[in-house]
Subunit: 344 residues, 2 copies
C-alpha cells in the first residue's frame, strides 16, 4: 500500500470536523463521525478509517447524504425501528446503539433495525459502545454488492459484516468479521507480492474459481467457507434490510456510485448482562477463560490472541499521534483548506 | 459410510419412543425427542439423527441424563434463564424455544439461555420451530471440545454451531452451520476416498497444519476461515455458557465420556416479525429475493439453493419411509427389544 506519515491525532481530527461542519454537519455529529473514523484508523483498520472522509464529503455535497438528517425512532416493546433520514451512517448508528442499550437495560435485550442510513465504517465501534455499558453487543450491516451467492457467479450479496463485543474484567472482546472469504484489500496484498490466493476466495470475470490475485481483483468475491458465509450473509440482510425496509445488497450500489442514495440498512442487538447474572461474575469468568485460551500452546510461529486485543494495544500505544496513509492526509488537508460554504 | 436400509418412519419412531419410555422418559418427552431425531435424519443430517438414541439411552441408564427432569424457567423482562435439570437436550430446548416465542410475541424479541442441558442434536430444528411462528429464530449451543483456538493447538473450543431460520411466502430459510472449518464426518469421507483435505481444516497430533485426512482424524479441528470461526465460536460460548452458568467447552467433555454429566449450555433469540412490519410483506419480499438469487447464473456445474430447501425436499419426498444406516436400525431394534425396566 502507499506510504504513511505520522500526524497529530488532535490536528487531523480538527480538520475532519471542519470538513464536515463546513458542509453543514452539526458540530456534535461531525465530532462523532471523526472519532469513529479515527478509532478504526487507530485500531489499524484503515479501510474503515479516515480515507472515507473524502467520499462522505463528496456525497453530502452532491445531496446524496443529508448533512443534518431528521432521525426518527419508533419504539415497540423491546424493539425499535430507526429511519436514519439518509444521514451519515455514524450519526444514525450511534443513535440506534444508544436506543438499543436503553432497551436492553429496561427489558434485558433490545433490538434496533435501521433503514435510510449510509456507510457507517467499522461495525465493531458500535458493538464496543454497547459492551462499555456491560452488555453484549451484536452489530450487523448490509454492505455494497460484491459477492456471489454460494454456487453462483453474479454479484448479489455484500460482504455483510457482523461485529460482536462484550466485557471481561481486564479487556473487551471485540470481533468484527465480514462474511466473505476475503476482502479486496487482502487480495490486493497478494497481487502486489505476486502470491496465489487460496481456491474459494474469488471468481474471475468469467465466473471460474481463480487462484490468480490479479484476476480475482477484476472478478467477484466468494462467501467464507462456501455455504457458511452465504447463510450468514443472507441472515444478516434479512435482519438489516427485510426487517427494516432498507435496500437489499442486490438492490443497492456502492458509495462510489454518485448517481443515487444507498438506503443502507443496519441492525443491532444489545443484551444486558445484569439481567442474567451479576456483571462482575460474568466479566471475571470471561477473563479467566481468555487467559486460559491465551496461555495455551500456540502453533509453531503463532501467537494466540483474544479478539480485539491487538487493536486495543495499537490504540493505547498510539499516544497523541497516528500513522495515516499519505494520500489520505493530503486529501484531508486539501478538503479542510477549501471553503466549502462557497459550494452550497 | 455404512450400508443403509429403508424402514417405516412410523415403526422406527415407535421403537425410539419405547426405548426412551422404558427407561423412564415421560411419553410426551420421548415422542418429542424421537420426532426431532427423525427430522434431522429426514433432512439428511444423520449425524444428528437416530444414531444418537443409543448414547442417550446409555447416559440415562447410567444416571448421566435425567429421564424426567425438573426444568425451571426464570423470566426477567424479555429474557429468560432455563435450568434444564440435566434433562434430554431436545426436551429442554423445545421448552426454551416455546418460552422465547412467547417473549418475542410480547416484547418483539426474546432471549433464552439454558444451562444443565445435554446434546440437543440439530440446532436448526429449534430455529425452524421459531420461524413457524413468523419469527426469526437464532439458536446456538456450546459443543464438546474438539477445536483449537486460532493460532493454537490445544482442544479448547467446540464446533459451536449457530442455526438461523425465518419464513418466506413459499419456504423457510433454514441455515445450520458449525463454526469449525470442517467436521470429523466430512474429513472421514476424504480419508476413505484417499483425497487430501484443504489446508486450514485441521492439525495433526503434533499441532501442525495437515492436508492428510487420516492424520487430521487423529488431530484437532480448526475454526472456519481462521480468526472468523474463532470469533464466532467464542461469542457463542459467551452467550451459551458465560451468560447461563453452563460449562464452557474447555470445561466439559464429549457425550461419549460416561464418567460425568456435561452441563451443556444453549441460547436462543426469537424476533417477532410483526413488531417491525406486517409478516406477509416480509415473507413476500423474502420470497422474491430468494427467487432472484436462485434464478441467477450458477457457476459451471453448480446449482444455487436457498439454505434449507434441499433438506425440505428430502423430508417431503421421504413419504412414509426413511433410509437409515443399517447399524443404527440394528441398535434401535436391539434396544427396543430389551426390557430396560429390569435394569433400573
Amino acid at each position: 500500500m502507499g506510504s504513511r506519515i505520522l500526524v497529530s491525532q488532535k490536528e487531523i481530527r480538527e480538520k475532519v470536523v471542519k470538513i464536515l461542519t463546513d458542509i453543514g454537519v452539526p458540530g456534535e455529529d461531525a465530532a462523532l463521525t471523526a472519532d469513529i473514523l479515527l478509532d478504526a484508523e487507530l485500531r489499524g483498520v484503515e479501510s474503515h478509517g479516515l480515507m472515507r472522509v473524502k467520499t462522505y464529503a463528496e456525497r453530502i455535497r452532491l445531496g446524496l447524504i443529508e448533512a443534518d438528517p431528521e432521525i426518527r425512532i419508533e419504539l415497540n416493546g423491546a424493539v425499535a425501528r430507526v429511519d436514519g433520514g439518509n444521514g451519515l451512517g455514524q450519526v444514525v448508528m450511534a443513535r440506534a446503539a444508544s436506543a438499543g442499550i436503553d432497551l436492553a437495560k429496561k427489558y434485558g435485550i433490545g433490538m434496533v433495525t435501521v433503514c435510510h442510513s449510509n456507510h457507517f465504517a467499522a461495525a465493531g465501534y458500535y458493538a464496543e459502545m454497547i459492551a462499555k455499558e456491560r452488555c453484549i453487543g451484536i452489530v450487523t450491516t448490509a454492505a455494497a454488492p460484491v459477492m456471489a451467492p454460494y454456487g453462483g457467479r453474479e454479484v448479489l450479496l455484500g460482504t455483510d459484516p457482523v461485529a460482536i463485543a462484550f466485557p471481561a474484567a481486564e479487556q473487551t472482546f471485540y470481533g468484527d468479521i465480514s462474511t466473505s472469504a476475503s476482502s479486496r484489500g487482502k487480495i490486493r496484498v497478494y497481487s502486489k507480492t505476486g502470491r496465489e490466493i487460496p481456491s474459494g476466495w474469488a471468481l474471475d470475470r468469467d465466473g471460474n474459481d481463480t487462484t490468480d490475485a490479479a484476476e480475482a481483483l477484476e472478478g467477484i468475491l466468494l462467501p467464507m467457507s462456501g455455504h457458511k458465509g452465504y447463510i450468514l450473509a443472507m441472515a444478516i440482510e434479512a435482519a438489516c434490510c427485510l426487517l427494516s425496509g432498507a435496500n437489499l445488497s442486490c438492490e443497492s450500489s456502492t458509495i462510489f456510485d454518485y448517481t443515487r442514495t444507498t438506503n443502507t440498512g443496519h441492525s443491532l442487538i444489545a443484551v444486558d448482562i445484569a439481567h442474567f447474572l451479576p456483571p462482575e461474575e460474568f466479566e471475571e469468568r470471561a477473563q479467566q477463560w481468555f487467559d486460559r485460551l491465551r496461555n495455551s500452546t500456540p502453533q509453531p510461529g503463532h501467537q494466540i490472541q483474544i479478539p480485539g486485543e491487538m487493536g486495543d494495544r495499537r490504540r493505547r500505544e498510539a499516544g497523541e499521534t497516528i500513522s495515516v496513509l499519505r494520500e489520505t492526509v493530503e486529501a484531508i488537508d486539501e478538503l479542510s483548506g477549501r471553503n466549502w460554504r462557497l459550494w452550497r
